[in-house]
């Protein structure tokens, strides 16, 4: 049986009239790599603040490793590692000094749990005497992660660790997170990059303070339910507008070099697209069915929730 690491029950929180969280319910299992995926303003940071006991929710409750986030906050603070969204190390201290300091406040030493982060730290090795403020973005992230791991936490909360980080460093960072997970630490990450969802065991898709879906990335993609087509022609600029005029069109949007097309009818025949475009004078037409990505799912879910709200 799986053990519950984080149990979130109907959490609500408003800041000066803005509903940051509107009734969140999620159970995260022990040892899971769990991702909260959503754009700015989805409520990811507010939720992390509540789970790390930094903020009290307006209503609802949450437990972390069985401890209540309001009453047992002292216990929680002993067992979690937390990396806030903003780079929050001491820029005027060196790599070594930062690490030593954070080891000190958790009453441990750099060496005690070194095996946890020795791979990460190996890359920092040449810069040990450099001040944190002078490290590159990727290195700062690695140092911050080392500091969050220094006391071997049971759970690791990472709030947007890859925001503003380039694609290469992001990929590396996710490889590191996988390794940490295999060491038995529950890793909870938030990110605005939809493509990173595929690297999590399970994800929650969040938008405007609500959860739109919680599942494994594979299941989320599976529940897309409709056939998605990628369309391309020699005239990409007018293409979306043209496709939108096809009967029963549900969604048309750019995605990389293609336009993604979704029709409401289950028995929609993609040959229609080709015929229609050719009739409109387009050449070099490509239409093929593709597997939806998390981003495709996210957009469809966003539209659905918008439609629900309008109704």
């Amino acid at each position: 049986m799986k053990q519950i690491a984080v149990d979130i029950r109907d959490i609500r929180k408003s800041y000066t009239g803005i509903k940051a969280l509107q009734g969140i319910n999620i159970q995260i299992n022990s040892g899971e790599l769990f991702g909260f995926i959503g754009p700015d303003g989805a409520g990811k940071t507010s939720l992390f603040h509540i789970l790390t006991s930094l903020v009290i929710p307006d209503s609802g409750s949450a437990t972390v490793a069985g401890y209540d986030t309001i009453h047992d906050y002292r216990e929680i603070r002993k067992i979690v590692g937390y990396m806030p969204g903003k780079f929050s190390l001491y820029q005027d201290l060196t790599v070594d000094e930062n690490l030593k300091f954070f080891a000190g406040i958790f009453r441990t030493t750099i060496h005690e749990h070194f095996e946890l982060y020795k791979d990460i730290f190996a890359q920092l090795e040449p810069f040990r005497k450099r001040k944190a403020g002078q490290l590159s973005g990727g290195m700062k992230q690695k140092l911050a992660l080392s500091c969050a791991l220094v006391h071997k936490p049971q759970l690791l909360f990472l709030d947007e660790p890859t925001t503003g980080v380039d694609a290469v460093s992001r990929t590396e960072f996710w490889e590191i997170l996988q390794r940490i997970k295999y060491m038995g630490i529950t890793v909870i990450v938030s990110t605005p990059y939809m493509d990173e969802a595929a690297l999590c065991d399970r994800v929650a898709l969040m938008n405007k303070g609500s959860i739109m879906a919680v599942n494994s990335p594979e299941n989320i993609v599976r529940s897309f339910g409709k056939n998605l087509y990628a369309v391309k022609s020699e005239q990409m600029f007018p293409l979306p507008g043209l496709l939108a005029t096809i009967e029963h069109t549900k969604a048309v949007y750019r995605s990389g070099e293609y336009i993604h097309y979704l029709n409401e009818k289950d028995d929609f025949d993609p040959v229609l697209i080709e015929i229609y475009l050719r009739a409109c004078g387009h050449g070099m037409i490509q239409v093929h069915q593709i597997a939806p990505s998390i981003e495709d799912c996210f957009m469809v879910l966003m539209q659905q929730s918008k439609a629900q709200k309008a109704a």
Partner: protein, 245 residues
Amino acid sequence: MDQIQAIEVHNLVKKFGNFVANDNLNFSVGQGEIFGFLGANGAGKTTAMKILCGLSKPTSGKIRVAGYDVTRQPDKVKKNIGYMSQRFSLYNDLTLKENFRFFGGIYGLSASEIKNRTVQLLDRLGLGNDSGKLLSSIPAGWKQKLAFSVAIMHQPRIVFLDEPTGGVDPITRRQFWDLIYEAAAEGITVFVTTHYMDEAEYCQRVCIMVDGRIDALDTPGNLKTNHHAANMHEVFLKLARKKST
């Protein structure tokens, strides 16, 4: 209209002490082109962009932006470009109209020009009735679109966008790119950096910087063919990983 290049860079070198941030860059961007400028953190993107905007002087090289030399005529350059970044946003405690008026004033637009452009740009965003609202009451994604509208308010020849869509939801992100396409169709050159590799595909040409040098510069299609990659993400990883390992 495409006779004059919007941006011409010849042998751009920028050094900080012994560190070479930009190592002999050569490229040009045509008027009305959407030009993607990619690279890992620390590859020298920001440095080059600052030089192109006239904010920083190159160590050597000849750089013309909007037809003006960036070292000798930085003021002329600044008049003809627009700039927007994820970090730089508009004033939260001013209304939409006041923000437009302020930034229009900076670029020396007349009162009537400001009025016309404000109405025109807000209508395009569908915010025509909200011009009196405080910016702080506008959702995050819309703010980016507003910031872009302000950046092209004075109809610059070139607009520089530094990670304009960071943290924006996928739908709004696409709406943002619709704005970019419209601006480009009006003849504005768009010079954009991004960490979203799908957005690299939206550019007409993409330049990838690695370690201060230009490692690749081509259309997304050619880049994918030449590097045997399925998408731009793979191209980027192949090029940028080469050096870090």
